[in-house]
Amino acid sequence: MDVVEEHDIQDKPTKKKTKKPKKQPKPPHENGNESMIEKTEPEHVDPPAEFSFPPTFSVSEIKNKQRRHLMFMKLKQEKRKQKVAMKKKKKKERDALGDKAPPKEVPKTIENQRVYDETTVNPEDEEVAFDEGTDEFSAYFNRLTNPKVLITTSDRPRGRTVRFCNQLATVIPDAHVYYRRGLALKKVIPQCIARGFTYLLVINEDRKVPNGMVLCHLPDGPTAHFKVSSVRLRKEMKRRGKDPTEHSPEVILNNFTTRLGHNMGRLFAALFPHDPQFVGRQVATFHNQRDFIFFRFHRYIFKNEKRVGMQELGPRFTLKLRSLQKGTFDSKFGEYEWVLKRHENDVCRRRFNL
């Protein structure tokens, strides 16, 4: 019995130590004694000052899967306990200090750590102001033209893309959806210009799902090519409101700071009529984060001075800019102002272009 019990007690601890004797003949005897008393610390044995311990035992060296799993679970529980204990201690210290406590540390995020981009626009810069005042969008921003958008798709679109186009047409005022019929874009563009359109929006479809968008500002303006992802149509949205009305929405552009970002912001802003008197409580938001542009369409109502209720209506999608070309659509012979080159952009995780 005694023998059996001893065997039992020694079972688990010795299992950890089976590997050790093979590596280091001397220490395990001492460690064996220690471990029988305390079953904790499977791997981190603090070395005493006199002699340095060889590398400690790690859970991954146990060949038996079940025992290894058990050891790993134990290790995780220990770590979690330690973490909770640290947190409690810190909270106690903070409460004890009261007002004199040091400010809370802000956690590092990729947006916090963003590398400073030298093309960030300074609002007082005259040269940039002159450039933007005389570029292709100046006609719109000087209130000389109103936007008129033509929405079309790649050839032979499937149901999802068609519904997406129709919903976009309700969101953008003065938008017309046309069936593509296999026409070449370079031939469509002069006809659009003749009929007074200011924008051409082409949704590209792949495997029954919209995946790309070409946005071309018409008289001679820049052409942007985007990758579209995460498209959610109205039926798929939870807790949505009723369909959007004919009122022009407000436009919110968030976080477009660099020069390229400014160009993108103006490209999106010129899709909607420029009217500071907001009628209808609808708002379209283009939010840029980490070079992805998130589009959302909401209806808001101010309950009182500080609280707002919002309902999401309308489609939502995500865009990523792939290239910005200087003239109207001409992918073969046009000059590109910016092209996404994946290998050059993936070098640093904290550098963004928009």
């Binding site: 040269e127 002159f130 012979f333 000059e335």
Partner: protein
Amino acid sequence: MADKSQVCSVWVGSETGILKGVSLSKKQAFNFCEMSCLSRDQEVCVLGWGDQHETEVLVGSVNGTVKTFSTEKGIFTETRQCGESTQGRFTGLAVTDSALITCVETGLLRVWKEGSTDTVEINAGTNVCRMRQNPSQRNQVATGGKENGLKVWDLERPETPIFTSKNVRNDWLDLRVPEWVRDMAFIPDSDKIVTCTGHHQVRVYDPASPQRRPVLEAHFGEYPLTALSLPANQDSVVVGNTHGELAILDLRKGLVRGCLKGMAGGVRGLQCHPSLPLVASCGLDRFLRVHSLEDRSLQHKVYLKSRLNCVLLSSKDLELSSSAVTGDVEEVKEEGGEVDEVWDTMEMINDQAKKRATDEEEAVVTGVEKTTKKRKVVK
């Protein structure tokens, strides 16, 4: 203003009409523009040196004016009206002794003589994209454009070109190959001309050989090549395309030697330094980049806030700042006292070293400095 312009080693013209000077040693960029009369029709199309000593920069704008900017004084000294904006943009600007040569997109090549108002006119065809001057024989110019092959003109005989190129043979489907010459350069020490086309081809023509078709043809990329430049050593050429891809091609076999990374927008201007292995590029992404040709690494990158159209490099050493020059000169003077007749026969260099030292003078200074340093070690 004057001291700013004297330090600048790279000159860039932008779409907003501003001439920008960049000093790479001081890492600063300066705008030189005429007061606040900026407008889009003053967009800079071409830049060129006004003289051999590179003291004057000629700036050609869309509205047909050619302005002269003096680098010593730092101001625009002269403006000439060389055609109207209806005739098209400038595609080339060159200077021979006392005459200014301009070429516009509609193909009108004019030689404006100093003083007199009449001009020698040559019609170089329609849709000319570029005109370049032969640096060794300054009265020869080459023109080329869309569906307008390479033609070399001698200004003494303006009626017919001295060399007209012929298009390559029909391709494997027996269709005519379209031609679109975007940029060209004269290869020094020979008669050959290398051109880059909008159909991503690089071709070398040899007027000395009996064939008018290209002697060598190479392909790079899938996008139109917009700019071309020849580095100081022979047998290679740097090209740039509309996607911002810069490549060094070898002209012996027509293979790509390597690519220079970094540009994100279409390349509009490209120039190699006459003696150092450096190349400056500017384009639609609003940056000026200087790459080293030996290891293809980026040496300098400067953000200039407008889209850039053309770049001009001066022949002086880009890294040499004014203080370094005076330091070398003093050392030379001290060592010169105690040495042989060899050094006495060499020209004494003045205390106020000219800011724009020529290449030979610099070579002498650095050579002397190096050998004197060796002597110190030996002693």
